[in-house]
């Protein structure tokens, strides 16, 4: 009996949690695939063409492929929380960061220090562009979506200019350590990067007051100011963090294939990133946030794409199917539907709780 009460309480707690919707959606995608084809989940061990033992399978593909999106979703969540708006220039900014990364790599012999230097340079450039957006938002009070429209439009042409045209290549086993596998580790490096970055940012938010400050600026800027928090500084800070996210995402993407195409690199990712934030149960109007939700949201989007590929949905229809599923998820997560669900749950659970008490 004790067990069932804790179960009921646990379920109740979960259904109230912000993570209920994204977890439920993820659960649905998984159940759908279990019934469609259970072998979808099989993971095999293979030897790749460079002699490394690696894991391979749809689950790995999903976790691996969603890496850039997950990292951008983290940055987007923080920006959304503090500024009550979204930065739509992340894809274009990633093209710029990736181009700078490639530019530095191509100017030197590719060694580990050079890669670090390239990352650092790309990071500085990306942060400068992010700060440009941040200044417009924080100082001039421009809607984030409007402010980032400038880099959104100009970003890819700037990346073109950095590349000097065409699609420059970079080839080095060291880069494949970032974009694919490190010898001896069977898990794709991008997954490890996401885990490391996730832990770092969680620690930073939890062990400093940063998370609290960002949320309070998003919830009530005046109140935050009266309590001695500098809203302008906080907003600039979240944009700087987004700049770092953009650099990591852009660089991972370059390392995966070993070339940069300024027109196609992380194309349309800004919409997916915003979507991941929304699916994650975070309000797009800012304030409280849960990073885990957004990251799960990113994996849901990727799982959806890979499922559609596995089902061989025709190329012209992929986006339409994706849109339908996403509409369902977003409607499920809307306040109106949630209220209904809560009402139904209360009716059902009050009865069962009473039953428990009687016994």
């Amino acid at each position: 009996m004790v067990n069932s009460t804790t179960l009921v309480k646990g379920l109740r707690k979960l259904s109230q949690s912000q993570l209920a919707i994204p977890l439920f959606a993820l659960f649905l995608v998984i159940v759908f695939n279990v019934f469609r084809d259970i072998s979808f989940f099989s993971i095999s061990v293979k030897t790749n063409n460079f002699g490394n033992t690696v894991l391979s399978g749809n689950l790995i593909s999903i976790l691996n492929g969603a890496s850039e999106l997950a990292i951008l979703a983290i940055g987007m969540t923080l920006v959304t929380s503090a500024t009550k708006g979204q930065d739509i220039s992340v894809g274009a900014a990633a093209a710029i960061a990736g181009s700078v990364f490639v530019k530095v790599l191509r100017a030197n012999e590719i060694t580990m220090p050079v890669i670090l230097l390239a990352l650092l340079t790309a990071c500085i450039v990306a942060i400068l562009f992010a700060l440009f957006n941040g200044m417009l938002v924080a100082r001039f009070d421009i809607q984030p979506m409007i402010a980032s429209l400038i880099v959104f439009t100009a970003g890819r042409p700037i990346a073109y200019w950095i590349n000097g045209g065409a699609t420059p290549n970079v080839d080095s086993p060291l880069l494949s350590y970032i974009g694919s596998f490190i010898p001896g580790i069977p898990i794709p490096s991008p997954i490890l990067i996401v885990i490391a970055f996730g832990i770092l940012i969680t620690l930073a938010l939890r062990f400093t007051n940063l998370g609290l400050y960002i949320q309070s600026v998003g919830i009530n800027e005046r109140a935050a100011r009266l309590n001695g928090i500098n809203p302008v500084l906080m907003k600039l800070l979240v944009f700087m963090i987004l700049g770092v996210c953009v650099t990591i995402a852009g660089s991972i993407n370059v390392c995966r294939i070993g070339l940069i195409n300024h027109e196609t690199i992380l194309i349309d990712i800004e919409m997916d990133a915003i979507l991941a934030v929304a699916i994650g149960g975070n309000a797009l109007s800012g304030g409280k946030f849960k990073l885990a939700g957004s990251v799960i949201g990113a994996y849901i989007i990727q799982a959806l794409t890979i499922t559609l590929y596995a089902m061989k949905v025709s190329s012209t229809a992929v986006k339409a199917y994706k849109a339908i599923v996403i509409i369902v998820i977003v409607v499920l997560g809307s306040p109106v539907v949630q209220k209904w669900v809560l009402q139904i749950r209360d009716r059902l659970f009050k009865k069962s709780m009473k039953l428990v008490e009687y016994k």
Binding site: V54, Y160, N169, S180, E263, I265, S315
Partner: protein, 322 residues
């Protein structure tokens, strides 16, 4: 009084460049050419195309050139109208969109300006332009598929990675392969669009590998997507290229892609020639000398390169970029 003189001086100053310019034009003896093109930032292909025209249409070669770049048709139309007003001798057009050019071309004809189309066709009566020098994307697809059939593979299990749906290159390069799928000579394992995105192409191939379905040909509609596909093969330990299990085909002939061919990592790369300037230059010289053009439509000579026969000099001659 002072003010009047000042006014006159300012007007004179403002007008003088035009007077000087007009005077200069008549004496130069250069052929005046207005070029309407898409901006080089559009793609590596366009960058090579623009560079080709800059190389051929020079003052040393007897041309006075003004160029206008835009991805938007209306801006291109305005630019063409401006070239007519400026009184150029020739207008060369690579149109952003195929429709809406009739009135501008008619105006040009009335003004005695000769028009050449390059790279892309547009919807207008052939009498409105001298000649069109264009790529035939369907022909590129045919050449590639003919090459593939000539390989005499025991089976053809094809992963077909498409470009952005509806683009000229996608339609042309898809058509040839679709015919084989329909005829049953080749088996369609997967046909999916990666919208020219390298990373997406990798995911598509990954999903086929994960499904365990056998395949032995990757037909990617550009070089970048072929590279993405190969990255997926490498991660799964599947051999490719000459002596490999999977035949890899790409398009566009970027230098780096041709080097992959030379190294035997890929099997085939189809050319999409951006080099139309020399042909048009020859035609203009022909017209200036009082000659006539042999044909209205010239299809750029486009090759397909085979890893077994490609040489370094092919890469130097036909490769795009660096």
């Amino acid at each position: 009084m002072n003010k009047k003189i000042l006014c006159m001086l300012i007007i004179l100053l403002a007008v003088s460049p035009f007077i000087l310019f007009a005077g200069g034009q008549k004496e130069s003896g250069l052929i005046k050419v207005g070029i309407v093109n898409n901006p080089p930032s559009e793609s590596g292909y366009r960058a090579a195309n623009v560079a080709d025209f800059e190389k051929v249409f020079t003052e040393a070669n007897g041309y006075e050139v003004s160029t206008f770049y835009s991805l938007k048709n209306d801006e291109q139309l305005n630019a063409a109208a401006q070239f007519i007003t400026d009184g150029v001798d020739y207008i060369l057009i690579s149109a952003a969109a195929t429709d809406g050019w009739n009135s501008v071309l008619t105006n040009a004809k009335e003004a005695g300006i000769k028009v050449f189309l390059f790279d892309r066709m547009l919807n207008a009566a052939p009498s409105l332009y001298e000649a069109a020098v264009v790529s035939d994307m369907a022909n590129e697809g045919d050449t590639a598929v003919a090459w593939l059939k000539a390989q005499k593979l025991p089976v053809y299990n094809v992963i077909h990675i498409q470009g952005a749906m509806g683009s000229d290159a996608q339609i042309g390069r898809t058509a040839a392969l679709d015919r084989e799928f329909a005829a049953g000579t080749m088996k369609k394992i997967v046909q999916q669009t990666a919208t020219w995105d390298e990373a997406e192409a990798k995911k598509i191939v990954e999903s086929v590998i994960n499904s365990g379905e056998p395949f032995n040909v990757i037909y990617a509609e550009n070089d970048g997507m072929a590279k993405g596909a190969v990255a997926a093969l490498d991660e799964a330990g599947i051999t490719h290229g000459i002596d490999g299990d999977v035949v890899v085909m790409g398009f566009d002939c970027n230098k780096w892609a041709l080097r992959e061919l030379l190294a035997g990592n890929w099997n085939y790369d189809g050319q999409c020639s951006p080099f139309q300037a020399a042909v048009i230059d020859g035609m203009i010289k022909e017209l200036e000398a009082g000659g006539k053009l042999a044909s209205k439509k010239v299809i750029s000579d486009e090759k397909g390169f085979d890893a077994a026969t490609i040489t370094q000099s092919d890469i130097d001659t036909y490769g795009l970029g660096d």
